[in-house]
Amino acid sequence: MKIKIADRGLDKTPVFCKSNCDHRSRQAIKALSQEERSACRRETAAPRGRIRETKLMSNNHQFTRRSLLKTAGGIALASGISAPSILRAQSSDVIRIGHLTPRTGFLGPLGEYGVMAIDLAVEEINAAGGLMGRKVELLKEDSVNPQTASTKAERMIERDKVACIIGEISSASCLTIAQVASRNKTLFINTGGNSDALRGKDCQRYMFHVESQNSMYVKTVGRSFQRDGLVKGKKWYSLTADYAFGHDLLKVSKRFMEANGGQFAGDDLVPTDATDFSAYLLKIREAKPDLVVINLAGNQITNFLKQYAEFGLTFPVGGFGFDTALAWAAGKGNFVGTWPVVWHHLLDTPGSKAFVAAFTKKYSKPPENQAWGDYIATKIVAQTINELKSTESPKIIEHFEKGAKFDLLKTRPGYFRATDHQLMHEMYAVTALPADKIKNQWDIFSSSPAVPGPDEPLEVIAATKEENSCTFPS
């Protein structure tokens, strides 16, 4: 305990800024009298002592040169703008929630929507009285990559004592955050990682998924393909992002194809840094597939769509992974095909309309599907904490596992499936509108009715126990 206090003091207390022993200018110190100078030395000597103490006493907490540098930077900053908020952060009348999501790199644009949405959600929660009468304080960080994500998750839990962590888009980062969360018995709600493996062999008791699993995406849009006669006896050509998410999606889509009597004419793995698809487009033209299946991720989808239009190919296009921001970026006339989404801004329900209106008012653009994930996850956590009158993760998890229902801004409420912690909810398939029917840059697709239909159980689109089973590590 002592270690942590010392630690926190180092990171946050503006030690050097007391009285006139300001560190800012050497000349100013020179100008001080002898007495003042020695007082300065005493003050500045104190933290050094504390550093040594921390170093000696902690075996498991690493105090590296880097964190020392950060400390120095923090101290320098503390004299400026960040001091007030840091002081507030230490008081106990707030409940902290950690938010981790990629804000740079190829998933960054989507992460930005997640950040906007959780800001809005917390604003609304605080306006409505907060959690158990306390204000919510949000700690937001760029998760960058799996290694950084786990370090940041650890710091949020151990140092900042967050009630839970929400966020993430990369399946690989989800895995490392979930491992940290489980070790520290803290709830983690995944709002953007799709990989089935996270709900199967890599599942964790402390991880819940608001984002749908790949199986749900494939089965949702698969229904549209079957309706359009693009599955049985047909051949597909797929392009797949060459990393965990893509591999998982390819596996699930092959399983779907084999189960429904179709076959693959070809499948190419595309390196995640590829921006030019001309070589693939030539191959697709040669293969003459009945359907081009896009299992790409992030900006690659936009690049592909723009170049697909450029090369004038006319084979039907579909995809299993999708985000509306990428369709908006491809733009009118370039966006084609049928794609699955977990939510979209055109949903005609009172809840969705209110969310879209609030988001559009705040950011002057409609929310995309990733925004829904972070928004709804925060609302679920807030509702649960207020109902249970507790922020303890084990209690929240028990509540989730018992099948508590949540309003998801859709036509029917959803619940977490106890066997794999996946949120059971309705999905949608969206289809690009023809260019002459597009009225503005956002409303460029039409939507299928909710999948599954009103008379079916929500679980029909999820992976079955045989397809993907989870045994929570104890």
Partner: protein, 292 residues
């Protein structure tokens, strides 16, 4: 795989390489003359693309095609005067850090102004469509791109080989002290070369905006292959960079064509490794005394 498809892939790969060229040529020029490793070069490419978005509603794509590279080039002159100039005779590691920081600042500024989500821009209607040469059907826009890139290469080559400006620049690359001793100040030439190189990156941004995703980090995507091209081609060599760019495109295209798409990026680095093993200065790298 049919031989037609392989031929198409080879041709496509060569065309693909041309895009790297516009970035790599400027990169090579600025390094050769000033010794500046310009990691911010990709950022100027991104700025070129965003300027296309800003300018084309007023002047059309044609207007952006002319105006955006000019604006980027002017920005290049400012950057050269204010920042690069201080690092010409310094350790390259300093300019590396400087331009790395510059790239991050530029990316964040783009993010602040335009937002993180990618923005849309399409090929102008006049440049859409396909061209068919025998059995080879290709995008018309890319043929136009090829034409523009070829014109740039030819123009730059003529400028460097046939004008007194080019002679001074080439002499400056080899021996700046001698040029100084002859009473020629290299400073204005440095500014011009920075404008030229950075303007080319801006031009690449304009040309690729209609077919690539426009987002703040797009510069990072292109800078790595561009550096690989410069290293393979060899410093100070005009034709080395040209041939390396075509080679990189070719290797990538053929890897995808023959079904090893997952390794297409790795193959480029392998190519670089092989070239450096046998020719440590790159394919046509000249021996530049002050860098050795």
């Amino acid at each position: 795989m049919s031989s037609i498809l392989l031929a198409q892939q080879i041709l496509n790969g060569l065309l693909d390489g041309v895009y790297y060229l516009l970035i790599a040529l400027g990169l090579s020029l600025i390094f050769s003359l000033g010794g500046i490793v310009n990691l911010a070069h990709g950022a100027f490419y991104a700025i070129g693309a965003y300027l296309t978005l800003v300018i084309s509603p007023y002047l059309g794509f044609g207007g952006a095609f002319v105006a955006a590279p000019v604006v980027v080039a002017l920005l290049g002159v400012v950057i050269e005067r204010v920042l690069f100039r201080r690092f010409y005779r310094a350790d390259p590691i300093l300019s590396l850090l400087l331009t790395f920081g510059l790239a991050m600042v530029a990316e964040q500024v783009l993010r602040m102004i335009f937002g993180a989500p990618p923005l849309s821009y399409s090929i102008p209607p006049a440049l859409r469509g396909q061209v068919a040469v025998g059995g080879f059907i290709y995008s018309f826009y890319r043929v136009v791109l090829l034409g523009v890139a070829a014109a740039c290469i030819a123009g730059l080559w003529l400028l460097l080989q046939k004008t007194s400006f080019g002679r001074v620049v080439r002499a400056g690359v080899q021996n700046p002290d001698m040029v100084g001793a002859l009473g020629i100040s290299l400073q204005p030439y440095m500014s011009a070369v920075a404008a030229l190189g950075i303007g080319l990156a801006g031009l690449a941004g304009v040309l690729l905006a209609p077919i690539y995703s426009i987002h703040p980090a797009m510069g990072q995507e292109i800078i790595t292959p561009a550096f690989v091209v410069v290293v393979i081609g060899g410093l100070g060599s005009f034709w080395g960079v040209v041939i390396a760019a075509l080679l990189v495109g070719l290797v990538k295209g053929v890897m995808v064509g023959v079904g090893y798409s997952a390794a297409s990026t790795a193959a480029i680095y392998l190519l670089m490794l092989l070239v450096l093993l046998f020719r440590p200065r790159g394919l046509f790298g000249e021996r530049i005394m002050r860098f050795e």
